[in-house]
Subunit: 427 residues, 2 copies
């Protein structure tokens, strides 16, 4: 598919800094508010947000026949629920309005004054009401690293791993927007040589570098979504930090999987970059070996060449980049994940979150968690203030960023940034 809005030659009448994540070719959606504006939908362009409520009020979406006040809502769910036959033309129209050769908005000073908000004056909100949240486990290097550390280096991947895009259900309520601090979780842990478990703050809080896709539309219970139809249900992507407490996880996860080790919080970047904006960054993934069942086969490319980095910033110190990875380092891709999620008839809804699982590349320096970066604590990572890290300390801020770049166009995600606060004292 080609979209006019992706044309690398497009330029906006709004000045977009060269290193911005948000050129006219991106146009990601978010929910923002200001002192004077209630939470509503906007699109990022350079250092500004385009207020879509104002654009609709000014009749600039008139020909698209959108429902009234579709953007004047605290989440994007109602808009996303309209489906791609509506949301794709909306993106194309926004692109048109922002082009240097278009005067409709450019020459309307009164409207520009109302509709363009400096990002620094806005507060971003979680852009969706989350339905269900699934976390996959789809990076071969990550699964291999974990299997090597905790099980058997010679049989690091479990027998099902190359047949099934392994995943599990996570907690929707505790998905929070970038900037929300999270408390270090309390919980039960048990050292391998201890007779009994202990209770207290986790000593092994870790980030997991992931990408998440957000769904639009639904299927009826009992009706699978094929890999062919899956793209119609993928509205867009965010960066996703699936916080994990490794010591709690090890004690609790047999036989039903991770629970309290994960559900104390997951952090999401505020802008949803559409599937369409990522079109130029599609690349082929690894050849499946062994062959997969027909329901997991697909045409086209659904891996994405998106550079990712994670930085850790101790309180009062400079940040330090601890890993550089890429969303292309996946074995299972997004259409396989959605086809698998629904092959048994499971129903999806607008606003579900499907996270990739930790994205690790094949080499040191590309791993997506502190567990792997510091290799189970054996290779501590030096911080900018001279301290080192095996896992995340209190008051550390973890920052994840990502972008694709091609033909001089950089499509970025903004960042997801979250501070770990000390554990709550439990009496």
């Amino acid at each position: 598919m080609t979209y006019k809005a992706n044309d690398p030659s497009l330029k906006s009448w709004i000045n977009v800094p060269k290193d911005s994540d948000f050129p006219i070719q991106n146009l990601p959606y978010g929910i923002f508010s200001t002192d004077k504006k209630s939470p509503r939908a906007g699109v990022a362009i350079g250092n500004f947000i385009l207020d879509l409520v104002e654009i609709q009020s000014a009749q600039l979406f008139k020909e698209l026949e959108l429902p009234e006040r579709i953007f004047d809502q605290p989440t994007l769910n109602a808009f996303m629920d309209l489906g791609k036959s509506v949301t794709v033309p909306v993106r194309e129209r926004i692109s048109e309005l922002l082009r240097e050769d278009n005067s409709e908005l450019q020459d309307n000073d009164q409207l520009k004054d109302k509709a363009l908000i400096d990002q620094e004056e806005a507060t971003m909100h979680l852009p969706i009401q989350v339905g269900d949240y699934t976390d996959f486990y789809s990076s071969e290097s990550h699964a291999t690293n974990v299997g090597t550390m905790f099980r058997d280096p010679d049989n690091a991947l479990l027998p099902n791993w190359k047949h099934i895009p392994v995943g599990y259900h996570g907690r929707a309520s505790s998905i929070v927007i970038s900037g929300t601090p999270l408390r270090r979780p309390n919980g039960q842990t048990k050292a391998p040589d201890a007779d009994a478990p202990s209770f207290g703050p986790s000593k092994r809080v870790d980030f997991e570098l992931e990408m998440a896709f957000i769904t639009c539309g639904k299927n009826e219970l009992g009706e699978p979504i094929s890999t062919k139809d899956a793209p119609d249900h993928i509205f867009g992507f965010t960066i996703f930090n699936d916080w994990s407490a490794r010591d709690i996880q090890v004690w609790e996860y047999v036989p039903l999987g991770p629970f309290l080790a994960k559900n104390f919080g997951s952090s999401m970047s505020p802008w949803i970059v559409t599937m369409e904006a990522l079109e130029p960054f599609k690349v082929a993934g690894p050849k499946p070996d062994p062959e997969v069942f027909p329901y997991l086969k697909f045409d086209g490319n659904y891996h994405f060449d998106v550079n990712l980095e994670v930085a850790v910033q101790p309180k009062g110190a400079e940040e330090k980049v601890v890993t550089n990875s890429n969303f292309k380092y996946m074995y299972w891709n997004v259409v396989q994940q959605l086809a698998h999620q629904t092959i048994n008839g499971c129903n999806i809804k607008t606003g579900d979150v499907y996270a990739s699982g930790t994205i690790s590349g094949p080499e040191e320096g590309t791993y997506g968690s502190m567990l792997e970066v510091a290799w189970k604590g054996t290779k501590p990572v030096a911080m900018s203030d001279g301290s080192d890290r095996k896992f995340i300390h209190d008051h550390d801020t973890v920052i994840m960023r990502g972008y694709g770049e091609k033909e001089g166009v950089r499509i970025g995600f903004g960042e997801v940034r979250s501070e770990i606060l000390p554990a709550k004292e439990i009496k």
Copy 2:
């Protein structure tokens, strides 16, 4: 706590059949519609539903100062969200209006005509918008039976089981109301002696007899709910059939837990029986051994003496009761489950579902799944039509019922009934 509405001597001016689940001491909430009425809140009394929209319109809740049209909604979430300081007085007031010595409604023929609906003329709907869904694993006999069958009879319980109310996150979107048929799931399975997995309809579809509690109110992310405060957040209970595909589960569940084996559907009974109505049925649970961490200690009793049964009905045949269990057969109770869910700061919301896990008693005849009843297929169960069952066949209907009985008062849950349809053909 004692509630006037629970007084066994109360009688209603509405005729309640002797074996009804819904005497005046119960008053469970549901969402119903009729040909003329849009989905709205009602309370079951005998064979009738009291339409709470009509009662509020007639000013009979006037002194409670409820929000306008709080019952004129397709879910109970907004009502439950008002909290127990409101919902408990509402129950007491409904009880008062239905008492034989109260004339307010009894003598108002016009209002009675509008406000009392024959249950047979109503369609019941899922009574809540489900937030998150957690499934626990809290029956010792069930965990022991499963451990005995699949692992080691001498070490059937895993080391964490008596320290942690083990649980995992399930799928909220596929929770459906009684009466909704479900398709047999397709999926990957692998026989122990097979070289590679196969794909096709599950051959081991099973019920799981569970009770679920529904939460009201919320906690802030990072702030645990203690066992002492937990009852304020438990609005009420339903019977819950956590459908499972055993063969899919065995192949997929390592290391992240059950996923497609469970999320094709879970079935819920339509009436939410309040925590207050179950007060008379509270009983002591087993003594914890070993001692639990302080956050899992509690005062009072939070096990419930509720008789449970499961019947299987082949198409066109009589139903056959295959097990008789009881909600009291739990090791971990509901306040421990909620305290555990939140001890790491995980936040809950109004409308979350927390299921008990399969409820099995200590003896044959009291097990809560076909896996256990037919002991992994070694003891097939005879049906009324002469066929037998190891697991559930296409077009079988599974029916679960439950009630507590004390001092001549029977507090029942109605039933959850669901038919398994043949698997969808996958091309």
